[in-house]
């Protein structure tokens, strides 16, 4: 079998195969490919502001709505049917620092676990002070 411009085609095919199978090589050669995120949930609080499944998928959406509501409308408490909702005995305030981080105080063991695993870089901490791990 004669291959015209054989060495050029061979180099091209090697680059293509190498690039396309790159994830396989990266996974096989890295020890971290078996590391999975481990979330540490708060022990003292029993329930979150919404169901776990909803928070799992839509927490960013909720935070975004809270941000808009507080910053743009100056509405600070979650109101449903004309009443301010309560959560763990307190009025439910739409605040990342005062509500979310009160229970989930350890960013490293909670937020970062999945965010780092999936390369999500939320811009929460452009404005908010990053909790430096540990419990308050």
């Amino acid at each position: 079998m004669k291959l015209y411009d054989g060495w050029k085609i061979t180099i091209g095919l090697i680059i293509f195969t190498g690039f396309f199978t790159l994830p396989i090589w990266l996974n096989l050669t890295s020890a971290e490919s078996k590391v999975k995120p481990k979330l540490v949930y708060p022990e003292d609080a029993k329930e979150c502001v919404e169901a776990k499944d909803y928070m799992n998928h839509f927490h960013m959406d909720l935070l975004n709505r809270w941000r808009d509501s507080v910053v743009r409308m100056n509405v600070r408490y979650v109101v449903r049917n004309g009443n301010i909702l309560t959560h763990n005995g307190n009025k439910l305030e739409m605040s990342l620092t005062l509500t979310c981080l009160k229970c989930h105080s350890n960013k490293k063991n909670f937020c970062d676990q999945c965010h780092n695993y999936l390369d999500v870089k939320p811009y929460c901490w452009d404005c908010h002070i990053e909790p430096k791990g540990g419990s308050r």
Partner: protein
């Protein structure tokens, strides 16, 4: 007609993906084994197609070029559109592969007041460029699901792609571009009668399939979310040849199964269809050969050895008779 066949094929793939997503034992088969088949068919199939092209000889330089060729020193050569050197050819190939130079020359022909009128038409170039680049960037962005640790270019691409920070999860520019690009390419085949008449099922089907991949991807990202941590555990396991547990597969939503099966179908369909232009574009003989026909001798590779009788030999044989008949000879002795 072609559209009908493509639509039915696409709906069949969709149905298979959906059934695979809800029937437990099929789900294991489609999630844990089909991707290996798809990857193997894609890589090996593409290599076979390229090698088959590589075996065809190119007898001479095809000079369908689009600019002034290298000529007299006071005539300016168009070095990119009609290169005579290897460097110029490389430039032409880069323009072709990265920016679709040939498509930029696309024109539209139509009748206006019973006269055939040609006009500039850049829309096809724009939307296909937008689609192809978006597809590449989206594929590269998906490396965040493919490997652990994640290569650094992923974060860089995500930052640029989500530059406008609209919505949350941030809407990616490429998501908008790929959907609009594919929609344009698809509608063009339906509403442009001159294109529709030459369109075959193999033209519609890949557009529908990639449209399906992009749509399910967008739905998964913004609307019907799946457990992303499970998705990544699953893909990393598949891409490092580890066994995937039943429990993990159960966590993946049916919509993700459809998205995943679409991608596997695309990988298998790729080397069997027109989509191999991914590799074929590198082998376009009108683009990758320098126009140096008048500087170098190119010998047709399928020439066989012809027994020739040169003039020198001829004269040697008949010199006496030629001199006798008064025919001039080159060498008199």
């Amino acid at each position: 007609m072609g559209l009908g066949i493509s639509l039915i094929s696409f709906l069949l793939v969709l149905a298979v993906g959906w059934i695979a997503g809800i029937v437990p034992f099929l789900k294991v088969f489609f999630m844990a084994y089909v991707p290996y088949v798809a990857l193997a068919v894609f890589v090996i199939g593409l290599i076979i197609r390229i090698l088959r092209w590589g075996r065809s000889p190119v007898p001479f330089r095809i000079t369908t070029t689009c600019g002034q060729e290298k000529s007299l020193p006071w005539i300016r050569q168009n070095k990119l559109d009609n290169p005579s050197s290897a460097l110029g050819t490389l430039g032409r190939m880069l323009l072709e592969i990265l920016f679709f130079r040939s498509l930029f020359r696309n024109t539209r022909a139509e009748f206006k007041d019973d006269r055939l009128v040609y006009s500039v038409d850049k829309w096809l170039w724009f939307f296909s460029l937008a689609f192809h680049w978006s597809f590449l960037i989206i594929f590269l962005r998906h490396f965040r699901f493919f490997t652990e640790p994640i290569p650094s270019f992923v974060g860089f691409l995500q930052n640029i792609d989500g530059f406008f920070q609209v919505g949350l999860p941030i809407i990616y520019i490429t998501d908008v571009l790929i959907l609009s690009g594919l929609t344009f390419l698809f509608l063009r085949r339906i509403f442009n009668s001159k294109v529709r008449i030459i369109s075959l099922p193999s033209d519609y089907f890949p557009l529908l399939l990639i449209l399906g991949i992009a749509t399910t991807g967008v739905l998964l990202r913004y609307f019907f979310k799946t457990d992303l941590v499970a998705v990544k555990e699953f893909t990393v396991s598949v891409l490092s040849f580890q066994a995937v547990s039943q429990e993990l597969i159960n966590k993946l939503s049916p919509l993700f199964a459809i998205h995943f099966f679409f991608v596997c179908t695309l990988l298998i369909y790729f080397p069997l269809s027109k989509l191999v232009h991914l590799g074929g574009v590198f082998l376009s003989p009108t683009r990758n050969l320098a126009n140096n026909n008048r500087m170098k001798r190119h010998i047709n590779p399928w020439n066989y050895d012809v027994p020739v009788h040169t003039y020198e030999e001829y004269e040697e044989e008949f010199r006496d008779k030629m001199i006798a008949a008064g025919i001039p000879v080159e060498k008199e002795d």
